[in-house]
């Protein structure tokens, strides 16, 4: 199975990465080497082996549903670092999200 340059471009677009032509060629080669390595798994007989749901052998624990106090000062500091226009009102702000959409009847 081979990854094409087109697929690299698609993955880059999903990650919002602008790649140069050289990079596209470089990553196409690297993707293929990685996948080739991973595909060696296909040569193994896995018939009686349970699928692995997680890479670590850890088991999780649960937290009680009790609210912690709000961290007002911390939030103010975080807002100060944000590029927003209405920080003093407590809002983050972002460029128009609807760009790229159009409504039609």
């Amino acid at each position: 199975m081979n990854v094409s340059k087109k697929e690299v471009e698609h993955v880059a677009a999903l990650a919002r990465l602008a790649l140069s032509e050289e990079e596209k060629i470089l990553y196409t080669d690297q993707f293929n080497v990685i996948l080739e390595y991973i595909h060696r798994l296909n040569e193994l007989n896995l018939e009686n082996i349970d699928p692995m749901t997680h890479v670590q052998q850890l088991r999780n624990v649960l937290r009680k549903d009790i609210a912690k106090g709000s961290e007002k000062e911390l939030v103010v500091r975080i807002l100060e670092e944000s590029p927003g226009k209405e920080k003093e009102k407590g809002f983050f702000s972002v460029p128009p999200v609807i760009e790229g959409f159009e409504m039609e009847e």
Binding site: T53, H54, N60, L62, R63, K68, F91, P96, M103, E104
Partner: protein, 481 residues
């Protein structure tokens, strides 16, 4: 003309009634000032914080899965669904993509006197996004505000099999689903407040066909009514396209409530490609068997089995049983009245007419209502013992509803005890007959209506307190003499 079959699959999102978010201890209380219930974890900031699984969120999702007859996953795992959007601080949403909490369940709906099962394909737990607030018009807004209070609130998604066949079935399904989820107390399911949201995948195929047609995904339906109207509109739109011999374009459409139509929403973004993978920061959790048993035992009698019991044990008409079991509070109220006054149909009549009328006209929830079930039981007992008449009882009931007083106190205070003493009534009837000779004449010349008038006069004299059966009997005896 060609006939079509409608195929609908529903995706329902429900916010859980937990006190804190799914992976951090931030409060989930509704209506707080923007960005006051956030922390570095739910804002997706780097800094070594670890997601900590909320026990209640897991418990509620398992409870819902059980109540919807699903089988429960042995291992609880979470995956990352990757996409960029301004309301998603981490750049991915944590969800259960590979192993949903529950699969293969069903919900029963009652339609035209028969029962239909709607399959539940899966139910899983995921986190909600933040909220974008636009300045004025969504399209011309120069920038958008973001409030992350909702980001990370536990959300359950319930996906049906494509077995819903009409707007009416969709509405009935949603109402039953809401009823079940409220019985088990995991969500308040308020569509208007957004704690319950519904999207519908809709397609049409020629009747008898096995192959589904192109589907559209319908969003932005904010009430049971708009789910019904939105689906109805979209089905009709697709039917017209197909009848013209054209093809339905697969797309996402928005229901516009004010205009009563659906609109396409086109996106220039690349098509959805979420590249889901197991979240490396959240190890799997194995729910202990004893815990699962505990959760199962905490599930109360659900609307369907209660419905069946009400019809079989109490011999109620299915319509009564459906209304009474629609909410847990109502069904509990009904059961509680019966422990004091065991005439199910009589109690049902009172609840379905007087009680519902008062609840609706005053916009009162049954949980905040001042009438106690034992007081209604007592009122009905007093009626049966002929202490008060049915008509007086209605007035007493209204008073009980307004003040929360006991029926016997109201009756005593207002002197409403029924007059069932023959002597007293005889005297009143005599004076009524004397005062209305023309009506007596009318009666003898065959006008039966005159009787009703005379009874009315006796009631008027006694301010409605006369025992009606006794008045009828005595009046008849006297006038026919």
């Amino acid at each position: 003309m060609q006939e079509f079959e409608t195929v609908i699959g529903l995706e329902v999102h429900v916010e859980l009634l937990t006190k804190t978010k799914m992976f951090c201890g931030c409060s989930t209380a509704f209506g707080a000032s923007p960005n006051t219930q956030v922390c570095p974890l739910c804002l997706g900031l780097p800094g070594g914080t670890v997601p900590e699984l909320n026990r209640k969120a897991i418990e509620y999702t398992i409870k819902a899965a059980m109540a919807l007859n699903c089988s429960i996953t042995e291992e609880i795992t979470f995956d990352r669904k990757n996409y960029f959007y301004a309301d998603l601080p981490k750049g991915y949403q944590i969800s259960q993509f590979f192993y949903p909490m529950g699969t293969g369940g069903y919900v029963e709906i009652h339609l035209n006197g028969s029962t239909k099962k709607i399959g539940i394909r899966q139910i899983h737990l995921e986190e909600d996004t933040g909220k974008l607030l636009h300045l004025g018009n969504i399209i011309s807004s120069p920038y958008s505000r973001v409030d992350f209070n909702r980001a990370g609130v536990p959300l359950v998604e319930i996906v049906t099999d494509p077995e819903v066949r009409s707007a009416e079935e969709a509405r009935l399904f949603l109402q039953k689903l809401r009823s079940i989820l409220r019985y088990i107390e995991i969500s308040d399911c308020k569509m208007e407040e957004g704690s319950m949201r519904c999207d519908a995948n809709i397609s049409l195929m020629p009747l008898g066909s096995k192959e589904f047609g192109n589907k559209t995904e319908l969003k932005n339906m904010n009430s049971f009514r708009s789910v019904y109207k939105g689906i109805e509109y979209e089905v009709e739109r697709q039917r017209n396209i197909l009848l013209e011999g054209a093809e339905v374009t697969p797309q996402t459409r928005h229901w516009d409530e004010s205009k009563g139509l659906t609109k396409a929403m086109r996106s220039k973004f690349v098509s959805a490609d979420y590249r889901c993978f197991p979240d490396p920061a959240i190890p799997p959790f194995d729910p202990p068997q004893e815990w699962l048993e505990e959760i199962r035992e905490s599930i109360p009698e659900l609307p369907d089995s209660r419905f069946t019991r009400f019809v079989r044990e109490y011999e109620l008409p299915p319509y009564d049983a459906e209304v009474l079991t629609g909410s847990r509070e109502m069904a509990d109220f009904f059961d509680a009245v019966l422990t004091l006054y065991n005439e199910p149909k009589n109690v049902s009549n009172w609840i379905m007419s007087e009680f519902l009328r008062l609840l609706n006209s005053t916009n009162t929830e049954i949980s905040e209502c001042r009438i106690k079930p034992e007081d209604l039981g007592e009122l009905l007992n007093l009626m049966d013992k002929e202490v008060i008449s049915g008509k007086i009882a209605k007035g007493v009931f209204e008073e009980m509803f307004a003040s929360g007083e006991k029926p016997e106190d109201i009756i005593k205070k207002k002197g409403l005890v029924q007059i069932s003493d023959e002597n007293t009534l005889s005297k009143i009837i005599d004076s009524v007959l004397e005062g209305n000779p023309s009506s007596v004449e009318d009666f003898h010349s065959g006008k039966n209506k005159a009787m009703g008038f005379l009874v009315g006069q006796v009631m008027k004299e006694t301010k409605g307190k006369a025992n009606p059966q006794l008045v009828n009997k005595l009046l008849k005896e006297k006038i026919e003499k």
